[in-house]
């Protein structure tokens, strides 16, 4: 929940967090899976945390060196990946019981899923909160490719005009909470609708089959 509220203010920051998260998850899954037969049962959890903390430290160092803007945007939330439930959860539930290749694929799949989820929240929040999509603020190479200028796509706000439908509330943590809640509600509603529709379709098919048999 922490990163979902704190770093999803912009799409770029969300994507950056997703990439770093995926790196940590994949690397820790692979190492834990490789060591699964030699990690003593008594110290399983401490060993997993040591491995995860190491990869978080490495990712933090690399991002500070090579993506300094992303590092300063994400701040303390990169370090908080050490205690992220998904990373520890996948280590415990999957990597400790499966082969290295399977764990690698599990890490990639979960990482992509997490990245997509927080990117959706980031996209909604950035559009509603700032009224436009900005590229090149966190990944400065995008701005460099554009001659040093950030790319701004006006959607709900046009700079230099009176047209401004943005709501800054969505840039705040409370706005993040609201977007997360509404997004989850929509996902649950769609899932429930599909399940109910499948049940109703099955009943109708059964009824029709019964009538045909008569």
């Amino acid at each position: 929940m922490c990163p979902a509220l704190a770093v999803t203010k912009t799409l770029e920051a969300s994507f950056g967090m997703g990439v770093l998260f995926t790196l940590v998850l994949v690397c820790s899954n692979v190492l834990i899976s490789a060591l699964r037969k030699i990690i003593p049962e008594e110290v399983k959890t401490p060993a997993y945390i040591v491995v995860i903390a190491t990869f978080v430290t490495l990712v933090k160092m690399f991002s500070e060196a090579f993506l300094p803007e992303l590092y300063s945007t994400l701040g303390v939330f990169v370090s908080l990946l050490v205690v992220n439930c998904i990373v520890l959860g996948r280590a415990e539930a999957y990597a400790s019981k499966n082969t290295v290749v399977d764990s690698l694929l599990d890490g990639i799949g979960n990482g992509i899923g997490y990245t997509i989820a927080i990117c959706i929240i980031g996209l909604i929040r950035e559009i509603l909160g700032s009224g436009m999509l900005t590229f090149g603020a966190t990944f400065t190479f995008i701005a460099d490719l554009n001659g040093g200028e950030k790319i701004r796509l006006p959607i709900l706000k046009v700079p230099g005009s009176d047209y401004d439908l943005s709501m800054q509330f969505f840039s705040s943590p409370a706005g993040g909470f609201l977007v997360l809640g509404i997004t989850l509600a929509i996902i649950i509603a769609v899932t429930n609708y599909r399940q109910n529709k499948a049940k109703v379709d099955a009943r109708i098919a059964a009824k029709k089959a019964k009538e045909a048999a008569k």
Partner: protein, 177 residues
């Protein structure tokens, strides 16, 4: 559950070995990235300096500080434009329970407050601090009153910044007195 000495040493040895190997990986990465991180910080500091008194000013060499009265102040630059002394830029670094903030603080030669630039902001409420305190302070024409407006949603971070800004001013005044 009873654990034999042999088993206990085995488990301890495994953990120690794992930690040793991972520590080596961290040390290796540190060696690889250390210079780049230092270069990035220096570049950020130089860019920040130019934002305080403008690109035409001459910042000269930094004077390191170890002042027990103002422990957050790290160093300062005396800024000149031609023969005239414009003021000083202080580099300050502070810490609280929510993270760290490093600022470049401009103080004019008449001891009025100038611009600030955040070099590092790892506060967990960092964005709120940025939007609610640092940005309004930078945009304000009355910085003496803006520095006191710490109720911004990241009050502890803002208080830390206020403490550093006032320490810079106090140090400059103290040195001239």
């Amino acid at each position: 559950m009873k654990i034999s000495w042999k088993r206990a040493f085995g488990v301890g040895g495994f953990l120690a070995g794992l930690c040793g190997v991972l520590a080596l990986a961290i040390a290796g990465t540190d060696l690889l990235t250390r210079d780049t991180i230092a270069r990035n910080k220096l570049e950020k500091e130089q860019n920040g300096l130019r934002k305080i008194f403008g690109g035409d000013a001459n910042y000269g060499e930094a004077t390191p500080l170890e002042d027990a009265e103002h422990p957050t102040l790290v160093k300062y630059w005396t800024v000149h434009e031609g023969e005239e002394t414009l003021g000083r830029v202080y580099s300050a670094k502070g810490k609280n329970a929510y993270g760290e903030v490093a600022l470049l603080i401009g103080v004019y030669s008449d001891f009025t407050l100038g611009n600030i630039v955040a070099i590092e902001n790892t506060e967990s409420y960092g964005q709120t601090l940025e939007d609610g305190y640092l940005l309004p302070y930078s945009q304000s024409n009355d910085k003496e009153s803006a520095v006191e407006k710490v109720n911004c949603g990241a009050t502890y971070g803002a208080k830390l910044c206020r403490e550093m800004i006032l320490a810079a001013k106090s140090h400059y005044q103290g040195g001239q007195a």
